[in-house]
Amino acid sequence: MLLEIEDLHISFATERGRLYAVRGADMVLEEGEILGIVGESGSGKSVTAHSILRLLPSNGIYSGGDIRYNDRSIFSLSTQELRKFRGGEISIIFQEPGRSFDPIYSIGRTMAETLLLHEPDLTEDEIRERSVALLQETNVPHPADRLSNFPHQFSGGLLQRIMIAVSLASNPRVLIADEPTTALDVTIQAGIMDLLLRLKQERNLSIVFITHNLALISTIADRIAVMYAGLVLEQGPTREVLDAPRHPYTRALLNSLLTFGHHYTTERLSVIPGTVPDPYRPEPGCPFAPRCPLVTEECRKAVPPLVQEGHPHRCILPGVKGEDYARVR
C-alpha cells in the first residue's frame, strides 16, 4: 500500500460558518496503480487530494483521520521532509494549465527551476538534456526548440503535457491530477489520458486522478472511489464498481451517463433529481438519502458505516444495486 487515506475529516472556517468539506474519506492507492476519485462539484474530492500534500489554505482544519504514505503519516513530517515530499515523492497537476505557469518565465526556465530544486548539482547541459527528454516523454513536439517559448505560445493541451513533464522532473512515485482535462476538448483529453496510461506503464507511476466524469476515468483507472458530500461512498476495482455498484448513488450516476448512440427518442436520460446537500449544515444520516430511490428510515439516522462486503462501501442496504434499483422512484 503506497498511499492510504483513513477516515479523513476536513473542514474550513469561513465567514459563513464551518464548511464540512470531507466527512469521512477512505481510500487506498497501490504502487503502479491509477486511482480515480469521482464526484460532483462540492463532493470534497479536490480537498482530499490537496490534503495529501498538506496543501490546504490557512483556514483549513484537519479534524480527524490520517493520511499515510509508505506507512508513515504525512502529518508527522518535518518542514524539511515536507519540502522534499511535495513535488519530490508526490507531484500534482491542476485543472487550468494556463494558470499553473508563471507567464513571464519560459518553460525551459520553469523546468530548470524544478529540476534544480531536487537536484541542485546539475550542470546547464544536464538540465537541458533532462528537460528535452521529459518533453519528449510527454509528446511535446520539437522540444529542444520550444524550451525558450513562453506559456502563452502553447495551446491548452500542449501546456498540460508540459505541466506533466515538469511534474515528472523529480521522478515522483505518485502523480495527483486534479481534473486535468476538464478544460480541454474531448480529442485533446483522449491524448492526455493516453499519456497518463503510458506513464503508468513505463515508469510504474501511481496516479490519483480526480474528475466528475465517470466515463472518462473508467477508461484508465484500476480503482475508483466515488465521493459525495464529503464521504467516500464506495471504492474498489473499476470493473467491480461499474458492473456491480454497491451504492445507489453510483448506480444513479451510471444510469445518467451519456453514451454515444443514446438518442433522446430512444429513451430520455435519467437524471438524479434534487441537489447536493449544504456543506455548511450536514444532516444526520446518509448524505444521499434525500435523493435516493431506495431510502429507508434507518438511512436517515446516522452516516452509514464502512462495510467490506464486496468492496468497501457505505450503504446499509445489502447487495449490488442493479439497473432496476434506480427506476424504483
Binding site: V186, H263, T265, S270, V271
Partner: protein, 326 residues
C-alpha cells in the same frame, strides 16, 4: 428557420494602427447549413473549428466577409442578418437568442435575478410594465425549474447548473424562436449536464423552438440533436440525421472525433489517434482550401460535399485517414 449560405469569416491580425499586416485568421471558410423549424441542429467540432464564430454570425456579433445568414420567422417574414437595419436587427435579436457557455460569466453578478431577466425586456418595445414583467419572469423561472422567490437573489447564490437555467430563462423572456446554445453544458458536471439537456428538450416542445446546439462532445450531441454537422477548419465535414451518424460515420474526421469519446463499456482504453492531420498545431492563418478548390464548389448544392444519402452529406476535402496530412 435559420440558414447559413456559404458563410466566410476571417479576422485581421493587425497589431495596431502602425503595424498593419495582411494576415488573417480564417475562422469560417464556406459553411452552408440550415436549422429547420422546431429542429435541434448540433454543430460539433474541436476548439478553433469555427463553430462559435459561425453561431455569433447569426446574431451579428460579427459580420460575414462573404455569404449571409437569413432568418425566417414563424409568420414567414424573412430577414437578412447581414444587411438588417437597426430596428430589424433588434427584432432578429429578440427572436434568435444566444446563450453563453459559462454561466458564471454571462450573468451580471451585481444584479438581482429579476433584473437579469427583465432588463432587456425593459428596453424593448414590448415592455408591459414592472408588475406584469415580474409575473412573466416568475412563470418562466418556474418553468426552467427554479422558484419564484429566486427572483430576489443574486447569481452568486446559485450553482453552475442553476445559473445556466437562469441564462436560459433570460433567453426565453421575449418569446424567441431560435436558441443558439454555445457549449451550454460544457462547463457543468456530467451529472448536471443531463438535467439541462432534458430541460432544453422540454422547452423545445413547449415553446416550439429551433435550437442550434454547439458542443465539442459527440456523446452530448448524439443525445439531444436531430441533425448533426461536424466542423473542422471552418468547413463542414459531414452532416447527417443523428440516427444515421450513430449507425455509421463516413468522414474520417467524424471517426476521429468518435474515437475520442470515452466509453464506459469499452473495457480497455482505445488508443487515440493524436491530432487529425498528424500536425502539431493547425495554422489558422492559412485558408484551408485553395482558390481552385473553391471554384470547383461553385455548382454544388452543398459546396464541397457529396450526398451519400437523402439527408446525409460528406465533404470531399480532408478525406484521408486520420494521422495523414491532407
Amino acid at each position: 428557420m435559420l440558414a447559413f449560405a456559404d458563410v466566410h469569416k476571417r479576422f485581421g491580425l493587425q497589431a495596431g494602427f502602425f503595424a498593419p499586416e495582411n494576415r488573417y485568421v480564417y475562422a469560417v471558410n464556406g459553411v452552408t447549413l440550415t436549422v429547420g423549424d422546431n429542429e435541434i441542429y448540433g454543430l460539433v467540432g474541436e476548439s478553433g473549428c469555427g463553430k462559435t464564430t459561425l453561431a455569433r454570425l447569426a446574431v451579428r456579433m460579427y459580420e460575414t466577409n462573404q455569404g449571409d445568414v437569413s432568418f425566417v420567422d414563424r409568420h414567414g417574414a424573412r430577414y437578412q442578418v447581414g444587411s438588417a437595419g437597426k430596428r430589424e436587427l433588434r427584432l432578429i435579436r429578440s427572436k434568435v437568442k444566444y446563450i453563453f457557455q459559462d454561466p458564471a460569466r454571462s450573468l451580471n453578478p451585481r444584479m438581482s435575478i429579476e433584473d437579469v431577466l427583465t432588463i432587456g425586456y425593459r428596453y424593448s418595445p414590448f415592455w408591459p410594465g414592472k408588475r406584469q414583467a415580474r409575473k412573466e419572469a416568475e412563470e418562466i423561472l418556474t418553468d426552467v425549474g427554479l422558484q419564484a422567490s429566486d427572483l430576489d437573489r443574486r447569481p452568486a447564490d446559485f450553482s453552475g447548473g442553476q445559473r445556466q437555467r437562469i441564462a436560459i430563462a433570460r433567453a426565453l423572456m421575449l418569446k424567441p424562436e431560435v436558441l443558439i446554445c454555445d457549449e451550454v453544458v460544457s462547463a457543468l458536471d456530467v451529472s448536471i449536464q443531463g438535467q439541462i439537456l432534458n430541460l432544453l428538450l422540454r422547452l423545445r416542445e413547449e415553446y416550439r423552438l429551433s435550437l442550434l446546439f454547439i458542443a465539442h462532445d459527440l456523446a452530448v450531441v448524439s443525445y439531444i440533436c436531430d441533425r448533426v454537422g461536424v466542423m473542422y477548419r471552418g468547413l463542414l465535414m459531414e452532416e447527417a440525421p443523428t440516427k444515421e451518424l450513430i449507425a455509421n460515420r463516413h468522414h474520417p474526421y467524424t471517426r476521429h472525433l468518435y474515437a475520442a469519446v470515452p466509453q464506459v463499456e469499452g473495457g480497455a482504453h482505445q488508443k487515440s489517434a493524436g491530432t487529425f492531420e498528424g500536425l502539431d498545431e493547425i495554422d489558422t492563418t492559412v485558408p484551408p482550401l485553395s482558390p481552385e478548390e473553391y471554384r470547383a464548389h461553385a455548382d454544388d448544392e452543398r459546396p464541397g460535399m457529396d450526398r451519400v444519402a437523402p439527408e446525409h452529406f460528406v465533404s470531399r476535402h480532408y478525406g484521408r485517414e486520420p494521422g495523414t496530412a491532407r
